[in-house]
Amino acid sequence: MKLAYWMYAGPAHIGTLRVASSFKNVHAIMHAPLGDDYFNVMRSMLERERDFTPVTASIVDRHVLARGSQEKVVENITRKDKEENPDLILLTPTCTSSILQEDLQNFVDRASLESNSDVILADVNHYRVNELQAADRTLEQIVRFYIEKGRKDGLLSQDKTLSPSANIIGIFTLGFHNQHDCRELKRLLNDLSIKVNEVIPEGGFVENIKKLPKAWFNIVPYREVGLMTAIYLEQEFKMPYISTTPMGLVETAQFIREIANILQENSSINFEKYVDNQTRFVSQAAWFSRSIDCQNLTGKKAVVFGDATHSASMTKILSREMGIRVCCSGTYCKHDADWFREQVQGFCDEILITDDHTQVGNKIAELEPAAIFGTQMERHIGKRLDVPCGVISAPVHIQNFPLGYRPFLGYEGTNQIADLVYNSFTLGMEDHLLEIFGGHDVKTVITKSLSTNSSLNWSTSAISELNKIPGFVRNRVKRNTEKFARDQGLVEITIEVMYAAKEALAG
């Protein structure tokens, strides 16, 4: 057992449902107790969906517990088949139903005899994988099912499209800015004269899966979901894939060069001019980080935390493209820790792999960064510590499903990220004015902080002196002074002690 207040990644069935409900005309039936269909609320509220979420539950209640589901699941599947006439019904076990160990595969086999829809059982272990891993697995499972079906029916078209084309794999519902990213990717490919063959799962039809092999290559924009599918397609059809996330100027250029490499087999294509033009003149990010305004960000400390994709990309952008010092970079994707370490190695002082939010909170309290880039959880940690936070990764709230165009990928993405970073730090000029005039915030200093448990006494004059120090460095000054006092065996902190501490640190 684990004492848990908050989790970064949800349970496995959420991942499965996210994939299923992203496809068009696919219905998921959860084998679950009453109240487990909370996914419908999330989709309806966070994504502000206009359509009914194609997820229903075959309720596990006391009777099911006593006698087994018997006909119930089969009836629910065939009923949904008649009501909605979906292409595919995906039976989804939940953590509750997986302990019951009912033979769900048997229900699926029986139901598929009676229904027009295809019926499959989502194959995920609820106690071993999380939401993201399950989503990856489910997407691969569905693709594999329809590729094999197409092959059996002789409908699989392996002829490549005439002009270069790509599939985009891994855009799905409740993903962090996924819709905007997808639009930006399409725009980028259009600039490069590459057609988009299929986008899955978001808005795709399962019937079109058999057309996937027609594309020249696959694009997996996010590390978490889609990689398994791309690897499967590579094995089956020798389709190359690109798993570089085009987030930030350097990575976007890298992404485009990888496309060029793939296409070069057939023609001599050179995108370098395009990359150069976009980087220097179309995107504003390169110019922005060179502008004098951005000088003030030099060496400022930041902590980055999120899923593997966004956290790694963000770390690289901050440190490589903006000259910000990332004092700690971390992810909750423990299953992908090795990849993450390799990616951020050399771009940050410290790496943190954990899914325990208290550990992240303590780390931030200890490091006292000038800004945090993290999930909603880090935003709240930031609020408590008075450190600004930009949200860069799921899990997120409704405000991170903006109506306006806010991609994180591609060249427009670099602009969005630059704005986000800049707005998160205290504005440069404001900084100086605060330092010169001793701050304009009249908040009294809270002497008890998250990280230190001090028994030291601050004299009234020392507190008022501390008050004059700008808010964003105040905690650090306070902590250093207290550390100095403790080292010197002092109990009372006066102005003299403060100055002594400052000198001691400078020396």
Partner: protein, 465 residues
């Protein structure tokens, strides 16, 4: 009484394929109500994810609840449940030092048959903290019934008179002894007993303390003393319960608690409509007065005055139709109140219908329908959301009261909705809060009134189902 019920009210039962919240959500309001408590939900990631998302912002305010997240080794019994729970509870004791830990059993603990009730007393002795066990799981209960299971478990912990006598002074001790030896009927009929000797009345149901005070004051105006509330603000202040204590519920989903109070604590249940809406509040007070042989004072005037103040809202509702999809068991009381406001109720969906506990409310509903000259709505227990949506399409009600899963899709199809969860979190009890209640009900109507002239009411493509 029961005959007339069967004659006119139509009860149906559908498939139970409906959307509601998991009953563990009750920790959200109960941990805030019982200030020195800590709620430990023993379940899986699914439970945790639900709580985290349903509670939204509250989760970050250092809540006094947590998950004991079961891992694979717990499910396959490789770890000892008792030791694991002891470890976690020790940690909670150290970090938070609560006066009570409430264990919430979930679907998973039911299926793996974890003996929470058996372990709690042992651990309680070891840790010296009371541990209350409530099985608020989705296998048996819906949403607000979670509170019912917690309060029923809590009722067992209410001191009976003997224990409480130790704490109180000698004179009242004699008084109490005297009372408990008296037969119940005697107290009831003996009019010579002075005001102070009115048999104790305990109200049950968790509401914010402001609302609890308002209802207590309302009864005080009728010379009725409220001896205590279940739950109280603090675990240590649980009310004294014993034979001869009268109890009355304030929420329609508390049938298990009522049963426990009657059977285990030998209390006398006052079956009344619930104090929701001015009509319900008046009927509730009247019934309590009747039991204590009091003649209600100024009650009619009070109700009339409240209705007068509500007129601007009631005007918006009159002759409009409403459809309850059903998910929180408040539906009968709300429907009764809205009928009284002049609305036509097409259907009352409800997760579970305890006809005995809600009998007075059902009678009032029927009476109100006759009085307002509207058809008596059908009551659909364990509704089927899919069928209900077909019916909503056909009936085109002016307002659908529904869960969050269906609210946005219905709005996009030009059906005005009010999300039902808000009724459980808002203050809706008593005369004072009737206006707030109508504020909620009329809000979508007022909003759509404002936007009506724009002509954008249908917001899905015609091919969307």
């Amino acid at each position: 009484m029961s005959n007339s019920l069967n004659d006119n009210l139509i009860f149906e039962c559908e498939t139970g394929n409906y959307h509601t919240f998991c009953p563990i959500s009750c920790v959200a309001w109960l941990y805030q109500k019982i200030e020195d408590s800590f709620f430990l939900v023993i379940g899986t990631k699914t439970c945790g994810y639900f709580l985290q998302n349903a509670m939204g912002v509250m989760i970050f305010a250092e809540p006094r609840y947590a998950m004991a997240e079961l891992e694979e080794s717990d499910i396959s019994a490789q770890l000892n449940d008792y030791k694991e729970l002891k470890r976690l509870c020790l940690q909670i004791k150290q970090d938070r030092n609560p006066s009570v830990i409430v264990w919430i059993g979930t679907c998973t603990t039911e299926i793996i048959k974890m003996d929470l009730e058996g372990m709690a007393p042992k651990l309680e002795l070891e840790l010296q903290i009371p541990i209350v066990v409530a099985r608020a799981n989705g296998l048996d209960y819906a949403f607000t019934q979670g509170e019912d299971t917690v309060l029923a478990a809590m009722a067992h912990r209410c001191p009976n008179s003997d224990e409480s006598n130790k704490k109180i002074s000698n004179s009242s001790l004699l008084d109490n002894l005297f009372k408990s030896t008296l037969a119940l009927s005697k107290i009831n009929n003996n009019k010579s007993i002075k005001k102070s000797q009115q048999p104790p009345l305990v109200l049950f149901g968790s509401i914010p303390s402001i609302v609890a005070n308002q209802l207590t004051m309302e009864l005080k105006k009728q010379d009725i003393e409220v001896a205590g509330w279940l739950p109280s603000q603090h675990y240590s202040e649980l009310p004294v319960l014993h034979e001869g204590v009268f109890v009355c519920g304030i929420n329609p989903f508390l049938s298990r608690t009522a049963t426990t109070l009657m059977r285990r604590k030998k209390c006398q249940l006052i079956g009344a409509p619930f104090p929701i809406g001015p009509d319900g509040t008046r009927a509730w007070i009247e019934k309590i007065c009747k039991v204590f042989n009091k003649i209600p004072k100024d009650l009619e005037e009070r109700e009339a005055l409240v209705w007068e103040q509500l007129e601007d809202y009631v005007k918006l509702l009159r002759n409009k139709s409403v459809f309850f999809m059903g998910d929180n068991l408040l539906e009968i009381s709300l429907a009764r109140f809205l009928v009284k406001c002049g609305m036509i109720v097409y259907e009352i969906g409800i997760p579970y219908m305890d006809k005995r506990f809600q009998s007075a409310e059902l009678v009032l509903l029927e009476k109100t329908c006759v009085e307002m000259n509207v058809p008596i709505p059908r009551i659909v227990e364990k509704p089927d959301n899919y069928n209900q949506i077909q019916r909503i399409r056909e009936l085109q009600p002016d307002l659908a009261i529904t869960g969050l899963a269906h609210a946005n899709p219905l709005e996009a199809r030009n059906i005005t909705t009010k999300w039902s969860v808000e009724f459980t979190f808002a203050q809706i009890h008593g005369f004072t809060n009737a206006r707030d209640l109508l504020e909620l009900v009329t809000r979508p109507l007022r909003r759509n009134q404002n936007l009506k002239h724009l002509g954008w009411s249908q917001l899905v493509n015609s091919q969307s189902k």
